[in-house]
């Protein structure tokens, strides 16, 4: 039997961040492939790559925040509220960044080479799913009430992302 400690549980925020980051890299690839036919392709690729970098960092931050919140809950720590606040702040940022990925994906889907349009649309759908998952984590956080502005922002990001994904999926149809 191995003595290796089990991998830490990273939670849905980490998965949402990584998913949106992968979607952003895909958007950057599609934009680059469309460089011959679209002058804004390089700028779109740069934005998508920046969002991917940001989301990769946020995914790791979420894993840390999630672990800290779980530990505080288990220990009934005095730090509990602070850690729960942190555990809500990171998914909110993930939701907003994922919404931006979905928006960039829609922009790219509407202008890219037709051969790779489905990839841009798929990336938008993945980003929208990530935004929704992250917004749900904000809603589920114990420190967030139903009238909390953080929840309103997170849900708005999820809505924006869903709208962008619809645009992307409808483009070229």
């Amino acid at each position: 039997m191995s003595n290796t400690p089990p991998d830490p549980i990273r939670g849905a925020g980490f998965a949402a961040g990584r998913t949106a980051a992968s979607a952003a890299r895909l958007v950057a690839d599609v934009a680059r492939l469309s460089g011959d036919s679209w002058t804004g392709a390089t700028g779109a690729a740069a934005q998508a790559n920046t969002l991917a970098d940001r989301l990769e960092t946020l995914a790791e931050a979420d894993a840390d925040a999630f672990a800290a919140a779980l530990a505080a809950l288990g220990e009934k720590s005095a730090e509990l509220e602070k850690r729960m606040e942190w555990a809500a702040a990171v998914p909110l940022e993930i939701a907003e960044a994922a919404a931006d990925v979905a928006h960039t994906a829609a922009l790219v889907a509407e202008r890219c080479d037709g051969l790779v349009r489905a990839d841009a649309a798929g990336a938008a759908a993945l980003a929208a799913g990530a935004a929704l998952a992250a917004a749900q984590l904000v809603r589920a956080n114990l420190t967030v009430a139903t009238d909390d502005p953080r929840l309103a922002r997170a849900l708005r990001a999820a809505d924006d992302a869903r709208y962008s994904a619809s645009r992307a999926l409808d483009s070229g149809v």
Binding site: G40, G43, A46, A99, D160
Partner: protein
């Protein structure tokens, strides 16, 4: 006439604010070479910084090509840093200290060129690019803060990046014309 050519001309003409402008324009660059390139810290970095600008003041008249001000300052800074390391009798061989300096200076040059090109863009472009790339703001936040529809931010950023690229390409072309031979004049100690 490039900004550097204009700066050199103003300094050599004895214009009152020109030296302040030159120091302001190059202080971060010089400090970055000292601290990031040669790992000088604290008082050492401060002294090297002062020394570089004293030498710039003394020797600007020897600079043959005013458009090559930046590489000339970079060369002066390298010399000052190496002198300071040698005077400090550091144990590491200077050849090792110099390893990787070229790439560090190349990166600093690139960052400096981008910063310079940014200042030539419209205020709106500068603002939008800084908020997205520098402050990690979302499209929605940028739109709300600037009173612009958030759905147009990504396109605006793309357009601004295209303009930035044009400026950088134009800058490269100018730098290319200034390459060859020894444009920098005397930099010896």
């Amino acid at each position: 006439m490039s900004r550097d050519e204009e700066l050199v001309e103003r300094c050599l003409a004895g214009e009152r604010d020109a030296w302040d402008d030159l120091v302001l324009a190059y202080s971060r660059y010089v400090y970055a070479i000292c601290s990031q390139g040669y790992r000088l810290q604290g008082a050492d970095a401060e002294d090297a910084f002062q020394d570089v600008f004293l030498r710039v003041y003394d020797r600007l008249g020897t600079l043959r090509d005013p458009a090559a001000l930046r590489p000339w300052i970079a060369q002066l800074t390298r010399r000052v840093c190496l002198d300071r390391l040698a005077a400090g009798k550091r144990e590491e061989p200077l050849e090792l200290e110099d390893t990787g300096i070229d790439s560090t200076i190349e990166e600093l040059d690139e960052a400096f060129a981008v910063r310079e090109a940014l200042t030539e863009l419209s205020a709106e472009c500068q603002e939008v690019l800084d908020r997205f790339f520098g402050r990690d703001e979302s499209y929605r936040t940028i739109g709300e803060e600037l009173g612009i529809p958030s759905g147009t931010i990504a396109s605006r950023i793309s357009r601004c990046l295209a303009r930035l690229r044009e400026r950088l390409t134009a800058g490269d072309a100018t730098a290319g014309r200034n390459e060859g031979g020894s444009p920098s004049g005397e930099v010896g100690t």
